[in-house]
């Protein structure tokens, strides 16, 4: 493709990353079918942040939107990465869990309702400590309750990424969709550096971080299912596909033996580079031993 073809496409597309959490969630639904639940006008704020001198947000950084995607019932739950790093607290966690549980209830009653988690989050909100940790446990058990009935789709668009406790929610989802700009990992780069030293992981080395946590690598290692461009229309189409998709016969989080074998087969005496790891892990039959 020559340059004149590339530029108009690049300029005319609607970036998804540039949207805030609310608009991201709205953009996934069929036009005119959605409504927001427990929105900012209900003012369900965190009661804990003001006690610590931090301004809360009217929706606690969690946006819940119910509607139809490709004609099928769905609920989107989006974390706003710009507010307290998208962290999960008591209120935002309760909103997320309640939305998932209502989707389960509807699905059990015969109205299959998919859930889309738009995760831009560093994990538990440290200011809410144990309540945030409890929220992560509740979210995970609610995802596990819903996924036998309807797809639970995690979408990580960037640029905050998905880390900490919420990366576990991504891990138990039916499908994970990422952009190249997005990152997914249990511990963030700075945590790893702090715990294991700069020789282990240099958190200022952006190329290294994206080579390991980035969407391309996560899809390459089959820890995520689809790599999408930062294009609202393309992301919408991908999500629609998964909302309509069949339920998975087996989930990544059930393949304990497979992942144990893969890790056991790694030779840690030499430096493992992201590309060779991708080639080994992508092989489903041999546990990466070939």
């Amino acid at each position: 493709m020559n340059q004149t073809n590339i530029i108009p496409e690049f300029v005319s597309r609607q970036s998804f990353i540039e949207l805030d959490a609310r608009r991201r969630a709205q953009s996934l639904f069929d036009e005119g079918t959605w409504k927001e639940l427990v929105g900012p006008f209900d003012r369900m704020e965190s009661p804990w942040l003001p006690l610590q001198g931090i301004a809360p947000q009217f929706d606690d950084g969690c946006i819940v939107i119910k509607g139809k995607i490709g004609g099928m019932p769905a609920v989107a739950i989006a974390l706003e990465g710009a507010f307290q790093g998208g962290s999960i607290g008591e209120v935002s966690g309760a909103k997320m869990t309640a939305a998932l549980d209502l989707a389960t209830k509807d699905s059990e009653a015969g109205k299959r309702t998919a859930a889309i988690l738009l995760l831009e989050t560093g994990g538990v909100r440290l200011q809410e400590a144990n309540l945030g940790l409890a929220a992560v446990a509740e979210v995970i058990s609610s995802v596990l309750a819903l996924r036998p009935h309807a797809p639970v789709i995690t979408l990580i668009a960037g640029t905050v990424g998905c880390f900490g406790g919420m990366s576990l929610a991504a891990g138990v989802s039916s499908y994970v969709v990422m952009t190249r700009e997005a990152r997914l990992g249990l511990n963030g780069p700075e945590v790893i550096e702090q715990e294991s030293g700069i020789d282990e992981f240099d958190s200022s080395d952006r190329a290294l971080i994206w080579a390991i946590h980035g969407g391309e690598q996560r899809v390459g290692m089959e820890l995520a299912d689809a790599l999408v461009e930062d294009d609202a229309e393309k992301i919408r189409a991908t999500i629609r596909g998964y909302v309509q998709a069949d339920l998975r016969p087996e989930y990544r989080s059930q393949q304990v033996e497979l992942y144990r074998d893969r890790i056991a087969a790694l030779d840690a005496s030499e430096q493992i580079d992201p590309m060779s790891l991708r080639q080994r892990w992508n092989n489903k039959t041999t546990g990466g031993l070939r």
Binding site: R43, E45, P50, A55, P56, A82, F83, Q84
Partner: protein, 98 residues
Amino acid sequence: MEQIEFDYPAAKRRIMKKAHVGVVGSGDMEVLMEPTQNEGAHVSITTSVDGFQSSWKAVFDRFFSRFDGAVHIRINDAGATPGSVMLRLEQAVEVINQ
């Protein structure tokens, strides 16, 4: 963190719609603008930056010199500059006037 309240009794025009704009991100704020049945407008600010009451007052004095709606304005602020505050307020008015 500081709570700041202002009253603008002269703002009496009835408003029908409500608006929510902005995010409580660093250097930004969110505003809820809702119709009120009271006479005049009321402003409630929660800001994480202390000591800027006079700056807030100056921004709202100017805002209500041009806007006369009977609204309850609620703000959560994470250090927005006066310029950003005014932009967010005008964005909310734009939604209300749509």
